[in-house]
Symmetry: C2
């Protein structure tokens, strides 16, 4: 086993979108697992907009300490275990770091079950946080009903692309908002969305007004800002907004945040419900079962956008915040080239 | 009976806070009730921030047509009736206009019951829209629980002052936000609020942080803008925002609306629920019964701010939008000097 493990270390809090100054790839001594801990060789690292929040300050979890490896969702193979429940060779998922190797409490990792012929990447691309968030947001928070009009922003992202398909399975009419013609074509032609709106080239508010003369019943909000307000302006009476993310706002430290206009929410008797997957962990079992069933039935598709090499994690992460970037679906880094 | 009835006529849509150009007092022929209608001598006219929305364009009701008397809640005495259910001399409430005399469909007016020694103004100052909105917002929408921290903005207004007292009766700790030291003293010394914050002189966000280290559980939102965002920044985990009004935003036609920052709503798993009294009319019976009981028990107080003379309605209305204006409680115009 190598004596050295590389990590992306948080050396300063990010200012705006300057992640190059915030994260540095460093070689560190191999971490050693203590009692009840396991040492994991990272296979895949999950890249998510929420990572930005963890860098910047306390959110629903404390901030990543300066000088420490950046936190992230990982999947990996156990190489050493000081806990009876986990054995070397086990494939596990958990909240690790942007590192070649991570030490995690055995109690906090979950063994990834046999994927039934699916590649391991499906555990992050379809199941796990992306699918769980999409499922909870559509079913528990959005509570979409057959025949309703469902709109999702960030629709080509990991959560948005699944959320739209789940709403479609529930019998809704589904409209996705994304940042390029190519993404929009993917939503309608590959994923079965009824319509897609390219916010870079179209007037979202007007187009939604044309597509939804009776208004938007459920809005799955991933982006905020101008796109969010264009949807809010089109809410139907009693509409529900499932507030999952505000990716357009995350890099505006200290600058003026673009809040959501509440007048349409007031006049329509609508609601906005913020949600964090951590509060719905008890729902992940059902979510995974349903997602697996729908995948087997050919009713849902997932897409993983895999970057090879831990050294390329930062460049890939930055594209999460670039309007019109080409990635689709779940952004992952294959840290170990042997991972399937 | 006079042959002439004065009305405030909407001659153009308001631009910003220029209500002088929008409304003109005109003498019009006495309106004549048709079949099933009643002619009412206006006793009291209710002045509410929502009136501004009805002038400006369609909301949850159509806009007031240009060239027509401005709409408003009125109470009056029936002088002529073409409907068997209503008799001359009956005291009724309804959705009338800013006029000496109104013609209303008999089916749309409600007879105001004997007030048991209370002045008629209590029907608008404690019961009716103000009390109903406060009751529904606290009980149905805010769902405040004993021991929770409840914050209300526009706290010295008709709805806000009642909402804070209702939350107090439910066992909450109550903090009001208002626009002058005098109003704040009234909230704490007369109405029993635990604390009051003068947003004209204090840093609302910091003061709330000091007063509520565990956050705000229920926020009754009447104003929006900077005050709204100062409260939202202090929401507790799972907080509820009862979105009743956004009076700081109503005059910003075409200008940049200050939306509510949704990041705290997201991170706290909080919710914002817009509500309109029209959707809760079935709750008014319970609201009035409870408000009457609490008044009799000395648990709640109401304040009416009465301007004499229809000709003074506009000047009084404008103060609803002036930060630090001196009015408290329910703004009313006594149109008939004989009204009690």
């Amino acid at each position: 086993m190598a004596e050295i493990s590389r990590s992306w270390v948080l050396v300063q809090r990010p200012v705006g979108d300057d992640f190059d100054s915030a994260l540095k790839l460093q070689s560190l001594p191999m971490p050693e697992p203590g009692e009840g801990q396991v040492l994991v060789r990272t296979l895949y690292l999950s890249l998510d907009p929420a990572n930005r929040g963890w860098m910047a300050g306390p959110t629903y979890i404390p901030a990543v300490p300066l000088g420490m490896p950046m936190w992230g969702g990982i999947m990996g193979k156990v190489v050493e275990s000081n806990a009876p429940s986990i054995k070397p060779g086990d494939i596990v998922g958990g909240f690790g770091s942007w590192s070649d190797y991570c030490v995690l409490p055995a109690a906090d990792v979950n063994k990834i079950p046999d994927m039934g012929g699916l590649p391991l990447s499906a555990a992050q691309g379809l199941f796990g946080g992306a699918g769980g968030t999409a499922y909870v947001g559509v079913i528990d928070v959005g509570q979409v009903k057959p025949g309703q009009t469902f709109v999702v922003s960030g629709a080509a992202g990991s959560v948005g692309s699944l959320a739209g398909q789940i709403a479609k399975i529930q019998g809704a009419r589904v409209i996705g908002i994304a940042g390029s013609a190519e993404k929009c074509a993917w939503l309608t032609d590959e994923l079965g969305f009824d319509h897609a709106i390219d916010y870079q080239r179209e007037n979202v508010r007007k187009r939604l007004g044309d597509l939804c003369p009776n208004g938007v019943d459920v809005y799955f909000e991933n982006v905020g800002g101008a796109v969010g307000n264009a949807v809010v302006a089109n809410l139907a009476k009693g509409a529900r907004v499932a507030l999952c993310g505000l990716v357009s706002q995350y890099n505006l430290d200290g600058g003026p945040v673009s809040g959501l206009d509440m007048l349409p929410v007031l006049l329509k008797g609508a609601s906005v419900q913020g949600f964090i997957l951590l509060d719905y962990l008890h729902r992940l079992g059902e979510a995974s079962a349903k997602l697996g069933q729908w995948l087997a039935e050919g009713k849902i598709k997932y897409h993983v956008d895999i970057t090879d090499g831990l050294e390329n994690a930062l460049a890939s992460f930055k594209t999460l915040f670039q309007s019109g970037a080409s990635h689709k679906g779940k952004m992952m880094v294959r840290v170990d080239s042997q991972a399937n």
